[in-house]
């Protein structure tokens, strides 16, 4: 993992490719996210300085688009579907089990940066409800037991 200072340097390198026109905000954010996997508080400050706008404004713009994330993601990203079908099939129970097992809430990352947990609306896998997606792969018809086993395997791998 790069240290904070090298990250700031990297962001400054990215900024070199853009003029300080406010319209460049979104492409800059996209590039930074691509590079570091997320947009940190520090990088937001650096970008704000460069474009002469406030970090709050950047945060406002960035949170408008769901593609941006603001915390360093874990190695494995777990998305639990809470869409209608999954909800009916007790998706919340699956979520509860994961929360218990990992000790984090949706939107959070474990301290060892191993897992990030997210709640999502319909993944388009309603036939497989309740569904969980781990690192892009769909795991359907989960039970609290099966999902726990799955996470255990990943953790130990």
């Amino acid at each position: 993992m790069p240290t904070e200072t090298t990250m700031i340097a990297d962001i400054q390198a990215v900024l070199k490719n853009y003029t300080d026109d406010r319209d460049n905000l979104i492409p800059i954010l996209q590039e930074v996210q691509e590079m570091s996997g997320y947009i940190s508080e520090e990088s937001m400050d650096v970008i704000a300085d460069y474009l002469d706008i406030t970090p709050t404004e950047i945060y406002g713009v960035a949170t408008f688009y769901t593609q941006f994330v603001f915390t360093r993601p874990g190695e494995h990203v777990i998305k639990v579907c809470l869409g209608t079908a999954c909800h009916v099939k007790k998706g919340q129970q699956i979520m509860g089990e994961i929360i218990n097992y990992l000790g984090i809430q949706p939107g959070e990352t474990t301290e060892d940066y191993k897992f990030t947990l997210a709640a999502v609306a319909c993944l388009g896998s309603c036939a497989l409800a309740p569904a969980v997606v781990i690192d892009g792969e769909v795991y359907g018809r989960q039970t609290p037991q099966s999902v726990k086993k799955l996470l255990k395997e990943i953790r130990e791998s």
């Binding site: 508080e41 937001m44 002469d52 706008i53 406030t54 970090p55 709050t56 404004e57 950047i58 945060y59 406002g60 949170t63 408008f64 603001f70």
Partner: protein, 832 residues
């Protein structure tokens, strides 16, 4: 310039190119409702409340964004428009905390509960400090919204209470964007707040939800002043009601000398605001938030004092003048010095100088210089005192160090706040200043601005010029004495234009905020300022040692619904003797008020007692802020008479707010005694209902009522009773626990059907011992005391009208003891 002619509602109207339809209508005296539009902001077009019909145009354009055109024919109020506006309002209300808007008992409620209840967060208009001044409520009344017909949602966003001066309760936000836009407009496009997220998650906030102290917020207060709802509030002013008048004056607290509008009620300053929401009219955080808190400040000097052989004595103004004159008499000439603060009117400074010269025959006069948070006195005066040449001084504040003070033989002080100088002085005048006096002030830019009297001084307290003038007169220097400050103005020489040095302004830089007035640091007077000017680490809370490990320990604490907190307290002796209907008295610490709480549950084996606390004032706020593991200083009980547990037949138990918990033990015991128990509970909206399952299991039937109709029966407990009677239920006895207003309404209903009704009069009690008399209740010819004879009294005999009137009289006093808290510095105090 040739005008554009158009027709609005049949009226010929002239407008200028570039005007919007809204502008044209306003100029023609035609009202169009608006929420997101504001005269100080560019058109925005988000709320759509201002829609109109324009002949030849499709749909309903928003008048705040549509420019006028020649020959336009506009209709602002046809039936369709009204209907559309109603729908818009309903949608806004459904996501707002608005049960009161559609409540059946609204008119009576507003009559008998004239001031809002001070809740921690606002769950309805009844607990909203902005209710007298809310556009949303105003329009909803105007458009006669009676039912919401859409699901009611409570956003349940935690209130932001950690910043100084401002409370931000975004659960009330309607996303009109006014705050975001004004912040950008006033701060060069650099807003401290913005829209965060989108769709149904969109809200107003800062980067990563940080405190405003960690952003570029300048604490100008513009967002608070422009918010059309109660979402953003000024923590000091919020419960003080609406001002009777707004008086323009000049803030003298730093050389900028900004014009400022002070809000005044009953002769007291209750708030401040910039004179306009423009860049030029901005004021700094000190002017906006600190200045108004100086006048009614709890630490303020309110009594004149003279030093006598055996200590200090509080005396009349006259005596103080005499004493001061007597003391100064023998120090004429170079032995005397006078020291003043620059935040003083030109008139007062002139008079002080003249006093020094003519009454005291001395040249030793100085206006101190301020360097950040330090006060600098002229070297000549400091040297004079050190060398013993100067033996007597008259100062308007705390300017001299202890050593210098000790050297003086005589010290006279006129000040607003106590200090080491007032402690040591021979005579202390409690002085009036700033917005309590009149005169002129020369700003940094060299402009002479008017200081106007905004606040009334208490009897026997006078402004500086009068004190100086009276002492002079007493000393026989009649040339110095004046009858009014205006008299001095006439005498003043042509204003000596001050040098305008441009070294930045506190309006743009928090680091330049004025820090000191008359030698007192602002943050010592208004302690919330600490969070802004001293970036100190939060103070660690002292742990309370009780000796007995578990005594009155809070074993469990939960916010059941917004503002209602459940506390399970370890108090075996209380639990052992608890009977249904009784109450306990709790105190958070030895300084807090004694507050009676109805017992909601108890467990003899565990030794615990459960109370449900409604956060509605300073004391209950203190309780609400406790955490699991904390200890109460005092928890006494059980008190009051228990109810008579026997077989009545069919019993109705009515509960509202904390009473929903209060009826629970009654339900259990009365059911055990063989009664058919029907519980009727009420809440303003569905999101305020709690303990449903618990109650359902304890009784035979649970009837739910909500004021906005978002669950089951629309209305309150009385509508529940009405329904029961209507379906043929024969009710043998009823017990009602809730606020006085609610019990009054229920009794009107039960009286109609001659249902025996016992009401729990706890809300009246102040100390629960019969000493204070606050809980006096008139019942027919008899007078009873709720805390001794009750809490349950015969509701059908109580003179409710008299009670409610007396109660609203109490209210204003209760408001005096404002709950003020800023968790960053972990303590409670009355200034914020």
């Amino acid at each position: 310039m040739s005008g554009i002619k158009l027709k609005i509602d049949g009226k010929e109207v002239e407008a200028q190119a570039g005007d919007t339809i809204l502008d044209a209508a306003k100029n023609a005296g035609i009202d169009i409702p608006t929420l997101c539009a504001h005269p100080s902001l560019e058109p925005y077009g988000a709320c759509r409340l201002c829609i109109v019909k324009v002949e030849g145009m499709r749909g309903y354009p928003t008048s705040c964004t549509t420019p006028v055109a020649d020959g336009m024919n506009v209709n602002t109020t046809n039936e369709d428009i009204i209907q559309l506006r109603r729908n818009i309002l309903k949608l806004l209300l459904s996501g707002h905390t608005s049960p009161c808007v559609v409540c059946l008992h609204k008119d009576l409620c507003e009559k008998y509960r004239p001031t809002p209840t001070k809740a921690g967060r606002t769950t309805r208009c009844g607990t909203c400090s902005n209710r007298e001044d809310c556009s949303l409520k105003g329009y909803s009344d105007e458009y006669e919204i009676k039912d919401l017909e859409v699901p009611v949602i409570y956003n349940n966003i935690p209130v932001e209470r950690d910043d100084p001066f401002m409370d931000r309760d975004y659960s009330l936000c309607i996303l009109c964007g006014r705050c975001v836009r004004i912040c950008k407009k006033l701060h060069d496009g650099k807003g401290a707040i913005d829209f965060i997220g989108r769709g149904k998650d969109a809200r107003i906030g800062t980067v990563f939800g940080k405190d405003h102290t960690d952003t570029n917020c300048q604490f100008c207060g513009a967002c608070v002043d422009i918010c059309p709802t109660g979402a953003l509030t000024d923590r000091y002013a919020k419960w003080l009601g609406t001002p009777d008048e707004v008086v323009r004056t000049t803030c003298m607290l730093c050389p900028e000398g900004c014009l400022i509008d002070l809000k005044v009620k009953n002769g007291q300053v209750i708030g401040a605001q910039a004179t306009d929401l423009t860049v030029d009219a901005r004021v700094c955080a000190i002017g906006r938030f600190v200045l108004p808190q100086l006048f009614e400040n709890p630490s303020r000097l309110r009594k004149h004092m003279i030093r006598v052989v055996d200590g200090d004595r509080k005396v009349s103004y006259e005596e103080t003048v005499e004493h001061a004159a007597e003391k100064l008499k023998s120090f004429s000439g170079e032995a005397f010095a006078m020291i003043a603060h620059p935040s003083t009117t030109r008139e007062d400074i002139y008079l002080m100088r003249k006093f020094t010269k003519e009454a005291m025959k001395s040249d030793n006069f100085c206006v101190v210089k301020i360097d950040k948070a330090t006060t600098l006195v002229d070297d000549t005066i400091v040297n004079g005192i050190e060398s013993g040449k100067i033996k007597a001084a008259f100062t308007t504040g705390d300017y001299l160090g202890k050593e210098l003070l000790d050297k003086l033989e005589v010290l006279i002080v006129a000040d607003m706040f106590p200090s080491k100088a007032t402690e040591q002085a021979d005579a202390v005048f409690a002085a009036g200043a700033l917005a309590e006096t009149s005169g002129t002030f020369i700003t940094k830019a060299g402009e002479a601005r008017e200081i106007n009297v905004c606040a009334k001084l208490p009897d026997d307290i006078y402004p500086d010029w009068k004190i100086i003038s009276d002492v002079a007169a007493k000393m026989g220097a009649s040339g110095v004495a004046v009858k009014s400050s205006e008299e001095i103005t006439k005498e003043l020489p042509e204003s000596q234009v001050a040098k305008s040095v441009n070294e930045g302004s506190p309006i743009e830089d928090l680091a330049l905020l004025p820090r000191i007035y008359r030698g007192h640091k602002f943050e010592d007077i208004v302690c919330a300022l600490k969070a802004l000017v001293i970036k100190e680490e939060p103070v660690e809370e002292e742990t309370r040692e009780t000796g007995e490990e578990k005594r009155f320990k809070i074993l469990e604490k939960q916010e059941l619904v917004p503002d209602t907190h459940m506390l399970k307290v370890y108090a075996p002796a209380v639990a052992e003797n608890c009977k249904p209907g009784q109450f306990v008295i709790a105190m958070v610490n030895e300084f807090s008020e004694r507050i009676p709480y109805t017992v909601a549950d108890w467990d003899k084996d565990e030794g615990t007692v459960t109370i449900n606390v409604l956060e509605a004032g300073r004391s209950s706020r203190e309780v609400a802020l406790l955490k699991e593991g904390d200890h109460l200083a005092h928890f006494a009980g059980p008190l009051g008479k228990e109810i008579d547990v026997k077989k009545y037949g069919t019993v109705v138990l009515g509960g509202g707010c904390y009473g929903v918990g209060g009826i629970y033990p009654l339900a259990k015991e009365l059911k055990k005694a063989g009664n058919r128990v029907i519980c009727v509970i009420e809440a303003a909206s569905h999101y305020l209902l709690y303990w449903e399952k618990k109650l359902k299991d304890a009784c035979d039937e649970l009837v739910i009522t909500t004021k906005d109709g978002s669950r089951d029966i629309k209305g309150g407990v009385q509508e529940g009773v009405e329904m029961l009677v209507g379906r043929g239920e024969k009710i043998d006895q009823s017990f009602i626990i809730g606020c006085t207003f609610m019990m009054m309404l229920v009794c009107e209903e039960t009286k109609k059907h001659s249902i025996p009704t016992l009401t729990a009069m706890n809300p009246l009690m102040l100390d629960g011992t019969g000493m204070c008399g606050a809980c006096r209740v008139t019942m027919g010819e008899e007078v009873k005391f709720a805390c001794v004879d009750g809490p349950f009294l015969d509701g059908l005999q109580i003179d409710w009208k008299e009670l409610m009137q007396r109660h609203s009289a109490f209210r204003s006093e209760e408001i005096e003891s404002l709950p003020q808290e800023h968790s960053k510095h972990k303590h409670l105090c009355r200034t914020i």
